[in-house]
């Protein structure tokens, strides 16, 4: 997006430049209500820009595998895991055609790759939160995407489950040569996962984007969350500590 002005009727932020590079991971980080969803919608072309332009390097919209926020979906639908994963194939099959054996094979392969191959016939309501998240990722992979977009995939997950999920996404990224966009409000999801990071907060009129090592800076994050943020090295990992007070 070049000099893009994002907003529903009025601009949320000053004009921004944002690039999703091939085979890289962009993390979009900001507190609740920061404008992350509007940014994501604009990036995907679902929200018309109020100014600037959206450039498609491939000359067309890339095939997108989308993982929505899990709590927005209704678990009471009488659908099996396979039914849901097959939905990812709908754009590839096209209208007025039914899913064929190729689509079923692709859906099963995606489930196998994610590690939920044995859940194909299980009804949605019988899944745990983590399993449901994996089903949504399998559906996104079944769409044979060039760009994988995940909207708050680790919210309501414990830290261990969060790491397992992010490792899985990282593995899928290299296996399928994907570009990945991860939108999250959770600081812990970004370090060690994203190559580039965009910090966003419309309340403070803040938008910054750059390489992860540059953006994951205690001062910048402190400004973003309105709290003191400290980094501590634990072995080869970085621990992020959020303090009580506001940053000076």
């Amino acid at each position: 997006m070049e000099r893009a002005v994002i907003g529903y009727r009025t601009p949320l932020l000053p004009p921004i430049d944002l690039t999703v590079r091939a085979n890289s991971t962009l993390g979009v980080l900001g507190p609740n209500g920061a404008g992350k969803t509007a940014l994501l919608k604009a990036l995907l072309g679902l929200l018309p820009l109020l100014g600037g332009r959206r450039v498609l390097p491939l000359g067309r919209t890339p095939r997108v595998g989308y993982v929505p926020q899990r709590d927005r979906l209704d678990m009471s639908w009488p659908l099996s895991v396979l039914d849901v994963v097959l939905m990812g194939r709908a754009p590839l099959v096209g209208p007025m055609k039914r899913y064929g054996s190729r689509d079923r094979d692709a859906a099963r392969a995606a489930m196998q790759e994610i590690g939920i191959g044995d859940l194909a016939d299980r009804p949605l309501y019988a899944l745990s939160g983590g399993q449901h998240q994996k089903v949504l990722i399998a559906r996104a992979i079944a769409a044979e995407p060039e760009l994988l977009v995940l909207d708050e995939p680790t919210s309501a997950m414990d830290p261990a489950a969060e790491r397992v999920l992010l490792d899985l996404v990282a593995r899928l990224k290299s296996a399928h040569n994907l570009s990945v966009v991860l939108v999250t409000h959770q600081l812990t999801a970004i370090p060690g996962f994203a190559d580039e990071v965009a910090l966003i907060d419309r309340e403070r009129g803040l938008f910054e984007v750059g390489p992860a090592e540059q953006m994951l800076d205690p001062e910048k994050l402190g400004r973003l969350y309105g709290r003191v943020v400290r980094f501590a090295k634990v072995g080869d990992k970085i621990a992020i500590l959020i303090g009580d007070g506001a940053p000076r």
């Binding site: 989308y66 209704d74 009471s76 009488p78 009804p123 559906r139 769409a143």
Partner: protein, 291 residues
């Protein structure tokens, strides 16, 4: 003569209303699966009322122009109440597809407003001095009575059923996708508005035609109860649809039979019979909650 023998002997009288009831029960049972799962139960009631406004409006217009719209064979095509009811219901369906909302009003509230305003309009138009003397006949044409159904309405209902079945058969995977997860569907390039519109239009066509054939109460009931009963006892979409259609068909046929034998109001009896299908699901719920 036994109840069944008496019923069978009168088959020339009940054949057409029975066909209309069975058709309405089957197709509304199917459509009801989407209606219930999409949490749009009130939409079917609102569409039924709005279709009624179309009929009432046709009568009012006819009265203003000095033409009696239910004088068989003499009404101009443009004043045919069926067309008015279809057009009004389809316009409302298109409006609902736009997911109208306001910062403080949920889309359900807008649908509710449509229902309330449509009900009031029907009453106001029917009690207009221009057509008050025909109000009873208009009421039957508006909301059917399930006891006698003209052949023309069976043909219209059959045509509406075919349209809805074909639309759903051809676009089933898209309709399921946009109904279950519109957000992902739109990101993946599946036109959500287009398919929501198709779904709502098919629902509007069936509801407006079925309301005139079998009445507002059975139509509302058939678009909710069979689907709800099926959803309570199965976790598979295919089985849910099959059961909802069976429950709708059996409720209509058995309801008509019971109303004939026991001399009960037909529409209401169909609804009571349909409600019996809720029992297995309710038993399941009670068992689960007592564990």
């Amino acid at each position: 003569m036994s109840g069944f023998a008496d019923f069978w002997a009168g088959r020339d009288l009940w054949r057409e209303p029975m066909i209309a009831g069975v058709l309405a029960g089957g197709i509304l049972g199917y459509i009801g699966v989407f209606v219930v799962l999409k949490r749009m139960v009130f939409v079917s009631a609102a569409l039924s009322e709005i279709a009624g406004v179309g009929v009432a409006f046709a009568f009012w217009l006819g009265a203003v122009m000095g033409i009696d719209p239910h004088a068989h064979g003499t009404i101009p095509l443009l004043l045919e109440p069926t067309w008015f009811s279809l057009v009004f219901a389809c316009l409302a369906a298109a409006l609902f597809s736009l997911r109208p909302g306001h910062r403080k009003l949920a889309p359900e509230t807008i649908v509710g407003l449509g229902y309330i305003i449509a009900s009031a309009l029907v009453l106001a138009i029917l009690n207009s001095p221009r057509i008050a003397q025909e109000a009873h006949a208009v009421g039957d044409i508006l909301f059917g009575n399930a006891v006698t159904v003209p052949r023309k309405q069976i043909e219209a209902l059959f045509a509406a059923t075919v349209v809805a079945v074909v639309a759903h058969a051809v676009f089933f995977k898209e309709l399921l996708f946009v109904s279950y997860d519109p957000e992902t569907a739109v990101v993946q390039g599946v036109g959500v508005f287009r398919y929501e519109l198709l779904l709502n239009l098919a629902t509007a066509v069936v509801i407006s035609v079925a309301t005139r054939a079998v009445g507002a109460l059975p139509v509302f009931a058939f678009s909710v109860i069979p689907a709800a009963a099926a959803l309570m006892i199965t976790d598979r979409i295919g089985v849910t649809i099959a059961l909802a259609v069976i429950f709708g068909v059996v409720s209509a046929a058995l309801g008509y039979y019971v109303s004939w034998v026991e001399q009960l109001p037909t529409g209401a009896t169909m609804v009571v019979v349909a409600s019996v299908f809720l029992l297995p699901g309710l038993v399941k719920i009670v068992r689960r909650s007592s564990v």
